[in-house]
């Protein structure tokens, strides 16, 4: 197969003409090439104002949203289902607008996010410790390695009896459900990351005299970070889903958590409200993913994995 790289050359042939002939001062030449580079890499470079950069990453999202809303609206116009079953975008966005204008809603978001962050934090802590321990001690791995995935397949709802037994009807019961839902993912991500640390690095670590904690701190954790982050991402998804179920365990009058509101919307069969909450949950999920992605991208850049 011939190797072609038209983009590389196409962009440059035009540029060449504008390059003045031999330049003596290397600094000047450097500057010019910097300029050219910026031009050439325009589509990819990290430069440009914050607004532009934001726009560049935002337009495909907006387009995607636009298409979904359009299709949805068409289906509604086609009257495939009665509007109380499948309300149109206008209705839903109106409801959503009213919803997010209430302070109650934001109180609920606060309550839920607080639980999510606490639970997830705990899950990360526990998952990391368990994952590190399991991948370190062979008998432990044999003993509970598979149990970790086993636990993960348990529907949150099955933990309710145990949660109530252990923590009564308290916030701790919710946290318990969240942690037990998310920690296995975190542990699994770490274990699989550790298992795939290249042998050469392990040998380098051994030669550098790394043992115990230092080995984890300076070698295993950074080397398994990519897999760990993807474990965290999955763990987040699990913890959020567990939380939505777990919040039904204890209902504190006052600020209503998202989980309760969602369940109520479902119980009341208010399609428009249900869809509103789907959107709210999606948006929160996406925002969190954006955070993870930022971490991931920073990491890939440091490792030299960006660019072709």
């Amino acid at each position: 197969m011939p190797i072609k790289y038209p983009s590389a050359r196409a962009g440059l042939e035009g540029v060449t003409g504008s390059l003045p002939a031999p330049v003596e001062k290397p600094d000047a030449a450097k500057d010019r090439i910097t300029g050219l580079d910026a031009l050439e890499l325009g589509g990819k470079s990290e430069k440009g104002s914050l607004g532009k950069r934001f726009w560049r990453s935002a337009w495909p999202k907006l387009l995607a949203i636009g298409i979904v809303v359009l299709v949805w609206q068409i289906v509604v116009w086609a009257e495939w289902k009665p509007v109380y079953v499948l309300p149109g975008p206008a209705t839903v966005f109106e409801d959503l607008g009213t919803l997010i204008k209430t302070g109650d809603f934001w109180d609920g978001v606060r309550v839920t996010m607080l639980r999510a962050v606490t639970g997830f934090g705990l899950a990360v802590l526990i998952g990391t410790i368990v994952g590190a321990a399991v991948s370190r001690f062979t008998p432990l791995r044999a003993a509970i390695g598979s149990l970790i995935t086993g636990l993960q397949t348990m529907p949150s709802i099955m933990w309710f009896p145990l949660a109530i037994l252990l923590f009564q009807l308290s916030e701790s019961a919710i946290l318990f459900v969240v942690v037990i839902g998310a920690a296995p993912s975190v542990a699994n991500g770490l274990i699989s990351g550790i298992d795939y640390v290249p042998r050469t690095w392990l040998r380098v670590g051994q030669v550098l005299g790394m043992t115990g904690f230092a080995k984890y701190r300076h070698l295993i954790l950074p080397a398994s970070l990519p897999s760990f982050i993807s474990g965290l991402k999955q763990g987040w998804a699990f913890s959020w889903r567990s939380l939505m179920a777990g919040e039904l365990l204890v209902i504190v009058p006052g600020a209503l958590s998202i989980g309760v509101r969602m369940q109520q919307a479902r119980d009341l069969n208010e399609s428009s409200l249900v869809i509103s909450f789907i959107i709210v949950v999606l948006v929160i999920g996406i925002l969190i993913d954006v955070l993870f992605n930022a971490a991931d991208n920073a990491l890939r850049k440091r490792w030299g994995l960006t660019g072709s």
Partner: protein, 259 residues
Amino acid sequence: MTTVEADPVQTGQAVVSLDSVSKQYGSGSNALLALDKVSLTVRKGEFVCLLGASGCGKSTLLSLIAGLDKISAGTLDIGGRHVSLMFQEAALFPWLSVSGNVELPMRLRGVARAERKQRAEELLDIVRLKGFGDKRPHELSGGMRQRVALARALAQNADILLMDEPFGALDAMTRDILHDELERIWREQELTVVFVTHNVREAVRLGDRVILLSSRPGRVIEDFPVTHERPRRIDSPEVAGQAAEITDRLRAEVARHAN
């Protein structure tokens, strides 16, 4: 220091031509000009050796020719020919056995199973690794991996073969053998070769031309034609003589850079 335009005496068809090619990594304060207006023409069937200090841009030049990186300015043309590049690190795929690695380029070309098995065996024999076909890359020594990478590059049947310090991890004897083999293949298949090395004698042993690059930024500073008749021997007085001459030139360049 002015740029020396490579002007080969041969009259074959230009296969690789670079015209004031520059390559800059990074941007802003972090920018590094790796290659500065390099102009170079390699003709069909030529064996060109590249010499230069560590970090002067030899690997960069090869990856530009192979189309792996974008050039920052200038023009580069290889006329759509097939290029094969043997990397400085062996870069074998750990999920394939040794022969799997060698067979891969043939699989991609759709060569029949039996044929590529046989060809892979031939190639492993050429690089003196007969019987290692079923091993995994991690079971090989550094020099052995490099030889597998060579076999893989040869399996590509490309028109242009770019080689980045292919024999750096080999002992003198194995290297001598591979020099002979490479020369034979180059002749038989009328390959065009661009060969990076730090061993000046090796360059003179193999090359039709030896090109010297300066450091930071990399520029072509000298183009030595090598005219001794082939087959040459690496320890022959002619090779040693020209090598010494080139070494002096290189030494002067490195000294200049150090100041």
